[in-house]
């Protein structure tokens, strides 16, 4: 688990550094696969089939269907990249590091000696880093990547604190994530064709 936690945090760090949309989606695929591995290993350890099902769905949806949709749209956006984000790569990496320190400190304080310390800290850090990406990145695709990172973090949190939510709720969440990304991709296509760009900082007509 420690090894996976390090890899997951590494993926989040890389996300704060990349400015190319395509590499961001590549990192996202790797991250989702790691979440699935964590889920599957948990399932094998505790011999619960529903975690294996969830791991399988994670691979299909978060490492398959969602990246497929994202890669297709990124291929259309070859001139788009994250220029001039609100927090640059260096500052966001620093913020990510601070988030990790903070989550470990919080957990040691609220749940001292908890078994899945690394997993909980990692998942909360993923939530924060995902949020950071949504707030500080201007490219639509980067914000979508941030959203899925957040979701991955929450999924991992559920996994590490309570061995995952009941399967029927998890199925609902998977379905929602899939539809959410489809809706976001449709909107991104439309934004591209209306504004000739997917830099969301141009969305500022509505005020007051």
């Amino acid at each position: 688990m420690q090894f996976l936690a390090i890899l997951l945090l590494l993926s989040a760090f890389l996300l704060t550094r990349t400015t190319r949309l395509k590499s961001a989606v590549h990192i996202l695929v790797a991250q989702s696969v790691m979440v699935a591995v964590a889920c599957a290993s948990g399932g094998l350890e505790t011999e619960t089939t529903h975690m294996l099902v969830a791991a399988f769905l994670t691979v299909v949806i978060k490492a398959g269907l969602i990246p497929y949709a994202l890669f297709r749209i990124v291929a259309l956006l070859e001139h788009e990249r994250e220029v001039n984000p609100i927090l640059g790569p260096n500052a966001s990496s620093m913020a990510a590091a601070a988030a990790i320190v903070l989550t470990y400190a919080t957990i040691d304080r609220t749940l001292p000696g908890v078994l899945s310390r690394d997993a909980i800290a990692t998942s909360l850090a993923l939530v924060f880093i995902g949020l950071l990406l949504i707030i500080t990145r201007r490219q639509a695709i980067m914000q979508i990547v941030g959203l899925i990172t957040m979701e991955n973090g929450l999924y991992l949190l559920g996994l590490s604190t309570t061995r995952g939510l009941p399967l029927i709720i998890e199925l609902g969440i998977f379905f929602d994530v899939l539809v959410a990304v489809s809706v976001l991709v449709i909107l991104t296509y439309r934004i591209k064709s209306s504004f000739r760009s997917t830099d969301t900082s141009i969305l500022k007509e509505l005020k007051g």
Binding site: T110, V127, L131, I134, A140, Q143, L147, M150, E151, L154, L157, G158, T161, T162, L165, P166, L167, I168, I169, G172, I173, F175, D176, V179, A180, V183, L184, I186, L187, R190, I191, S194, F195, T200, L203, K204, E205, L206, G208
Partner: protein, 491 residues
């Protein structure tokens, strides 16, 4: 009862499927009116059965007086919104603002939207409620983006991004709540995990610190969806850019459904924490929402944005009532949800009709409503007076109850502050309203007849506003009383 609930869930889906199969505008219109009226009738039947026969409990579905109240809201609004859509969208089509294919897409998404809201209200499980609330966002996003022009895209992007982040916080809170349930040994397998009845039964044994943390995230998360300030930023954009019938559903039904889920969580949280912390949090968020909404109401130019900020204000009042927390205040808050839903939807229908007639949403360019369209003008005036809380209309009653409860429970300062703020809103909105309603219509104004379905929807909503201010039928009083007992944790 189970059959009825399943029927209520199936009908919007069947109507949606039928929408896919037909293409002519007239057929689309009739199929959807028929489908929505049928759905509404089934929902009203369920409401009646709960009022007279008590709650329905099964493993995954659960309908008590609290859900029945919200089902009533969804039933009324989905019927009126579909009726209004029939005329409104027909005119959009005739005037070339949308294409024929778009109409089919509109009705399909409308039915899906109604379906997701019913889902939220009939499931028993807090996790599934979360799934349902997220689904309502997704179904409505493409309706907000419906015109696919620049401002609609901007509104939809903000809507889906802000609400998704918010709702992920609510998921975090829900996971924490589940963690406390597992720690308290309260899960005897999958069926009781996050089950609302199971959680409520053991709420006294949950770890209070963890529940408090969970509640903070749940309040922020669902608060985003409810439109409580400062998480309301998506709301004016989405409400103003969506087609008017959708604005009515967003404001009247969707915000109320999100509030419902917050209340369900609140009941469990209060069981674990007692009332103090949650009450303070709700009072602060509620009053802050009213304060934040006021300047925007006063300086507004766009009629639909004005109504949207008024929704922020009214959700603030509901939160305020929940925060006072006495049985009387809870009754007032729940009554206010229903009243606001009907009045605000009527106002959005009227605003949609008016902006279609005048060809603008800018209030400065709308004059002489009463002279140009006496019926619409009069109903607009009544609806505005209602939303501002003028006696004897329905919202006066609920606002009065909430403020009276504030004074009775030893919070005269808060009650007084709210009264003062409401007076400010009254002045601001009446200024715009009188400018629009009275005076002479512009010279180039051409009057077009408003379609019969739209007129029916508006007239029925306005009659509801007048009648329920004066008289509450027995069954409705029954539902409201039982629902406030449930919120107080004694139902």
């Amino acid at each position: 009862m189970l059959e009825l609930i399943l029927l209520a869930l199936a009908l919007p889906l069947v109507t949606g499927a039928a929408t896919m199969a037909v293409r002519p505008p007239v057929a689309l219109k009739s199929v959807n009116i028929f489908g929505s009226l049928l759905t509404g009738a089934v929902l009203l039947w369920i409401v009646g059965k709960v009022a007279f026969g008590g709650k329905f409990v099964s493993d995954w579905l659960y309908v008590d007086a609290l859900s029945a109240l919200l089902l009533l809201v969804v039933a009324l609004l989905s019927m009126s919104a579909t009726l209004f859509s029939a005329s409104y969208m027909e005119r959009e089509l005739n005037e070339g603002r949308i294409k024929l294919g778009a109409l089919q897409r509109y009705y399909l998404l409308l039915q899906l939207f109604i379906f997701t809201m019913i889902c939220v209200l009939v499931v028993e499980n807090l996790g599934l409620m979360w799934v349902g609330v997220e689904a309502t966002t997704l179904a409505s996003t493409l309706l907000v983006a419906f015109y696919f022009n620049r401002s609609a895209l901007e509104a939809a992007w903000k809507y889906v991004m802000v609400c998704n982040v918010g709702i992920l916080f609510a998921l975090l809170g829900t996971i924490l709540l589940y963690y406390t349930q597992v720690s308290a040994g309260g899960t005897g397998g999958e069926a009781t995990a996050l089950s609302w009845t199971a959680l409520r039964a053991i709420s006294g044994h949950l770890d209070p610190m963890m529940v408090k943390l969970a509640f903070v995230f749940i309040l922020i998360g669902y608060g985003t969806k409810i439109g409580l300030a400062p998480m309301h930023t998506w709301l004016p954009d989405a409400h103003s850019q969506a087609p008017s019938p959708i604005s009515a559903l967003l404001s009247g039904a969707l915000l109320s459904c999100a509030m419902y889920v917050l209340i369900r969580n609140l009941i469990v949280v209060q069981g674990a924490l007692g009332a103090g912390f949650t009450h303070y949090a709700l009072l602060i968020f509620g009053l802050f929402s009213v304060i934040v909404a006021i300047p925007f109401v006063l300086i507004q130019h766009d009629i639909k944005r004005l109504l949207a900020y008024s929704s922020v204000e009214h959700m603030g009042i509901v939160a305020f009532g929940l925060g006072i927390g006495t049985p009387l205040a809870l009754y007032g808050a729940l009554y206010h949800i229903l009243n606001h839903a009907v009045a605000k939807s009527a106002l959005f229908y009227l605003a949609g009709t008016i902006s279609q007639q005048y060809g603008t949403k800018q209030m400065m360019r709308i004059r002489g409503l009463f002279a140009a369209m006496p019926g619409i003008g009069a109903m607009f005036l009544i609806a505005v007076l209602a939303i501002l809380g003028t006696p004897p209309l329905n919202i006066f009653m609920s606002k009065f109850i909430i403020i009276m409860a504030a004074f009775q429970s030893g919070m005269p300062l808060l009650g007084g502050a709210l009264l003062l703020l409401l007076a400010g809103v009254f002045a601001g909105m009446m200024y715009y309203c009188t400018r629009m309603v009275f005076g002479v219509a512009p010279a180039h104004f051409v009057r077009t007849a408003v379609g019969i379905p739209a007129m029916t929807a508006i007239a029925l909503s306005v009659s509801w506003i007048i009648i329920t201010g004066l008289y509450l039928p027995f069954w409705l009083r029954q539902i409201l009383e039982q629902a406030s007992l449930i919120v107080a944790g004694r139902g």
